[in-house]
């Protein structure tokens, strides 16, 4: 599951922020802000993508670098959200 989440997020980053340029794709642990890949609008694009693609809800206080600044953190954040959702459903 995390591999698929990771692949989907990576594909979104490449497609939406890098306009298809795989050669510019960041490493899993590279800062998206310090790499100048996302700006303040980009973060909201990411929130919108996570909510629509993974069907998770993102609260404003969760929009922090600890959750959003790398592809690895985004993957863990979504996986955690999904696990919590699954646990709540069982």
């Amino acid at each position: 599951m995390p591999q698929q989440i990771n692949a989907d997020i990576r594909a979104f980053v490449v497609d939406n922020f890098l306009f298809g340029d795989e050669s510019e794709a960041p490493a899993d642990d590279a800062s998206l802000i310090e790499s100048d890949i996302v700006d303040s609008t980009g973060i909201l694009e990411m929130v919108s993508f996570l909510e629509e693609h993974f069907l998770v809800e993102v609260a404003d206080p969760e929009i922090v670098p600890e959750n959003f600044d790398t592809i690895a953190r985004l993957t863990a954040f979504v996986a955690g959200k999904r696990n919590a959702k699954a646990a709540a459903g069982t």
């Binding site: 497609d15 939406n16 890098l18 306009f19 298809g20 340029d21 510019e24 802000i33 310090e34 100048d36 700006d39 303040s40 609008t41 980009g42 973060i43 909201l44 694009e45 929130v47 919108s48 404003d60 206080p61 929009i63 922090v64 670098p65 600890e66 959003f68 600044d69």
Partner: protein, 648 residues
Amino acid sequence: MCGIAGYHGAGLHPQEADALLKAMSCAIAHRGPDEAGIHVGEQVGLAHRRLAIVGLADGQQPMATADGRLRITFNGEIFNYIELRQELESRGHRFRTKSDTEVILHLYSELGPDCLGKLNGDFAFAIHDAHHARLFLARDRMGVRPLYHTWHRGRFHFASEIKALLTVPGVEARLDLLALDQIFTLWAPIPPRTAFEGICELPPAHWMIVENGAAHVQRYWDLNFSEIDHARPQDQLEEETRSLLEDATRIRLRADVQVGTYLSGGLDSSIIAALAKRMAPAGLSSFGVTFSNAAFDESGFQNEMVDALGTVHHTVDCDTDEIASVFPQVIRHAELPILRTGPAPLYRLSSLVRSKGIKAVLSGEGADEVFAGYDIFREARIRRFCARQPGSQLRPHLFRRIYPYLANLKRQTPDYLAAYFGITTDHLDDPLYSHRPRLRSTAGTKLFFSKALRKELSDYSAADELAATLPDAFRGWHPLHQAQYLETRFLLPGYILSSQGDRMAMAHGIETRFPFLDHRLVEQAARVPANTKLKGLREKHLLREAMRSTIPERIAERPKQPYRAPEADAFTANARDYVETAFQRTALEETGIFDVEKSTRLYKKSRLSNFTGFRDNAAFVGILSTQLWSQQFARQFRRTDETLAVRV
């Protein structure tokens, strides 16, 4: 006012010279619709297009001294020409005209290049000295009036606009790739570079002598923040500011035609309009842009000022369609790629002014640079405040306070606000510290450069080049003064006064005058302590206090609203053939400047997405304007890996 052009050097038959000067003159006919004149002399040619504002009956140019030794072609106004003329007459000079042009000739004959220190005005001129076979060129301190030049076949050519230089046989329009990198980082080329390879501008506050086939360029003035006067009480500073601004406005109302004023509803133009109204008892026409989009519109404040002053107010509405409809003409006149659409409404505004029979207008431009009004100054202060406590969860909230109009910041957490503004990554002793976030986000647009272009540019850094041009004293200045210097020395002449200023106004033969850029006021404000200009986060504190009694309280206390216009959505709201053409694969491949795949994806995203951030907006306008620039100026020049040639 006016347009100038000419050459210096041998090799032209009189008929060729005549034809060349006429062609150069025709290319800038919009700058001077009232009269045209040329002079062909020994190894020199001067051309002039006249917008007659001072000395209507006898100010024809090129103008010579009585002995015929000196001959001038001059664009601009010398606002203190009456006082200078009186001084010259008291020393025995005799005048044949009532024009300010003749004052320059007399002053130059007496002082040579030192005459520039006496001139209070906006000017670009060339004086030919027949005795020494020498051409002297000069440009005003702030860069209000333009002046470009190029060498071709050993001959020197100059003009108010580059399109006149392109009429010189053999001079080609080729995109300067380093200039493009600079525009996509700094919004404008670093002088003397222009968007055209091999064509330079004479930088503001410089003069140039051309003789014996060589040129010598020298700076004669610079903004200096080294002599801060901490002893002067604030009430004295206010009085001095008020007095200088009143006089700057008074002498800028000198004209033999009616002078109007721009009125946006903001603090700066309101102050100028109020002063001008008081000094023009016969009445004052004011002109403003309105937007149908409330996010950009200031018509409520405009109307409040009009009611308070009783000006005859005219407005032009700029919705997205209007911006798109004039954008190709905007690029034709701006003569360089741009990343913002801001010039387009001003192009329409000058057209409105012309339609009302007005030739000259006052503008409040320059106050933000001189009195510290831009958001970037406050932003830099907050960034330094946050950097002292990098983990603070409270301090980054201040960013929201200075950018209430940026909806995207409202949802951001303090950690992200700190990250966007480089709190932990930017070095406090970086000379470009104040501008780093803007430079970073702007340079993000270079993602769309083609692989070939990126390879050619390699590790070139426009920001490093900018930093290398700063004066030695810069590092010792207060951080606010460093930021003011960067804005005033580079962005003001490179973008505000040119792409948004002279070029948009002169497209319709309108002269714009800037009281806030009177050098006496600029020099006085540079001596004022930083905290008196930007008090806490209160921008233009000194100016507000000095002019409080001049304008309504609600205007005096208005927070700064930056001048903005619709960006990418101006071109995607309704389909436009030229926009679609610019983003077509074939067109992108033909110019070779941008990555075809990424650019077409950006076009698609801009049409379909709800999210268009700063970088994507700037990239969209930058790609479109570069494509238009290429079509209009350099269509025949096709770039490939082989033809890319950057001179780093």
